[in-house]
Amino acid sequence: MAEKQASRVAYGEELLAQGRINEKIVVCDADLSQSTMTCKFAKEFPDRFFNFGIAEANMVCAAAGMAHSGLIPFVSTFAIFGSARAYEQIRNSVAYTGIPVKFVLTHAGLSVGEDGGSHQTIEDIALFRTLPNMTIFVPADAIETKKMVRAAIDIDGPVYIRASRPVMPCVTEEDTPFDPYKAAVLREGKDIAIFTCGLIIDESLKAAERLAQEGIDACVVNFHTIKPFDNETAVEIANRCGAVITAEEHSVIGGLGSATAEALAGHSSAKFARVGIQDKFGSSGTPARLFHEYGIDADGIVAACKKLLAE
């Protein structure tokens, strides 16, 4: 299995690699290039890297101007400031016209850790998901991040890739096919399905292991693409297993849990529950402690699966 790596680090590497073969790629950042890892691209291509300083709204609209001029801008900063701070600019200057601005926002979710609730986006997917024309990817690991960067370049429209701060274990392989429109089954199982994404995949796989020891056969599915959502796979697996849990590092409102609920409504009578952040803000702490306290680690997922099956 490949080495552990943060998705933001994989992004920095792939952005540089793609920059070398595609001159239309330009990069915008807002004083966080050493955290988002766009610094690698900036170093090799200083004339194609634009630091806008701490001015996210201007950065997004300037990127829109670049996209209108035939370029493919990648826009990076912390997810909280790149999504919520510049949201109306994203809506009206980018999504509304459907131009190809690629948002790769890092440090999403509770896993920002000690910086606390002001910096932990629990709503970014919800925000992007309501925008027509938007594609949303949540990478499972470093390998998938790189595939997503390439897919984002091929998509003729705006894309959001949600990257995170901590190192992630690899749950896919180099030769695992990445179809942006198809969810990927990571572990087969017949009793209950765990639909998950991002950093919570690893927690879900651990949960499935523990459930197996108790005789519960859980299937784990990587829903790397939140929009457009693979409704077909969601319904098919839900109907096969009869019970579905969604597990994500995001509010249960508006993210994978909501997308799944919308897909299943009227098409499946499977039991259903959402593991995620239960309509509250984050706080300071280590990522592991926060995952536990907010019930999105393996313990929380195991408990939610058992509760659902007992209902």
Partner: protein, 273 residues
């Protein structure tokens, strides 16, 4: 407390900041150390506050717009007795009332949440407008960063402060010339910041040594002339710890054990467990 004693106290508070960050293993030393004396000038000399009654209606208000520098604020609030000094050693831990960025719901003495740059100065302006409307004579103070001045919101706030003639409002700039990706001038130059605030309708003062409490206090006592006031304080990022001074890399990184011990040695402060 006289000014000489305050300058002495600054050494102890600096040590508290370093210890806090060392124990938390994360956080922002550079901007905390550059703005410490600015906050001390306010809390020990100018502002009307009551640590026993943090929500006192007529208190002066302070908004740390560059919220990442809260370790300096926390050290001062603890020293003034808003909460036990012991709490400082749990900064950024799960369940601690001292969050990574200021949170008024959990920390006594913190008036407003901040951490998302640009918003604090706007909120502070709103508090000054409210004071006028409510016919209260409290003052509102805010500290912004130079990198923070790149946010459009700062200028929207500045425009409205002049428009509403907020002569109860003081904006202090921690002009340490650094942000995360490097020098302000390298990332996104501010130009002549004094002239800009002047053009936006502020009465402007410059403090050549913003790490001198006395110099900052002097500027804070100067007149508003019927306008909002802007004080540009020239400071040193990482002030007081040799290896942190003027190094952008110390914006958001905690010292390791060796660095912690060296800082304490330089400050001449005993390690108190």
């Amino acid at each position: 407390m006289d000014l000489a004693m305050q300058q002495q106290k600054a050494v102890q508070l600096r040590a508290d900041i370093i210890k806090m960050l060392y124990l938390a293993k994360s956080g922002h030393p550079g901007g905390s150390l550059s703005s410490l004396e600015m906050m001390m000038a306010l809390y020990y000399n100018v502002m009307k506050v009551d640590p026993k009654n943090p929500k006192w209606e007529d208190r002066d208000r302070f908004v740390l717009s560059k919220g990442h520098s809260c370790p300096a604020l926390y050290a001062i609030l603890a020293d003034l007795g808003y909460f036990p000094r012991e709490d400082l050693w749990h900064l950024r831990q799960y369940g601690c009332q001292l969050q990574g960025h200021p949170d008024c719901k959990s920390t006594p003495g913190v008036d407003v949440n901040s951490g998302s740059l640009g918003q604090g100065i706007s909120i502070a302006g709103g508090m000054a407008i409210a004071a006028k409307y409510l016919k209260k004579d409290y003052q509102v103070y805010t500290i912004i960063g130079d990198g923070e001045c790149q946010e459009g919101l700062v200028w929207e706030a500045a425009m409205s402060a002049a428009h509403y003639k907020l002569d109860n409002f003081t904006v202090m700039l921690d002009h340490n010339h650094l942000q995360i990706d490097g020098d302000n001038d390298q990332v996104m130059g501010l130009g002549d910041i004094m002239k800009k605030f002047e053009a936006f309708g502020f009465t402007c003062y410059k403090v050549e040594d913003g790490n001198s409490i006395e110099a900052v206090v002097e500027a804070l006592r100067k007149p508003h002339n019927g306008k909002p006031k802007f004080i540009c304080c020239e400071t040193v990022k990482g002030h007081g710890v040799s290896y942190m001074e003027n190094v952008a890399g110390w914006h958001g990184k905690a010292p390791n054990e060796a660095e912690y011990l060296q800082a304490m040695k330089e400050l001449g402060v005993e390690i108190d467990g």
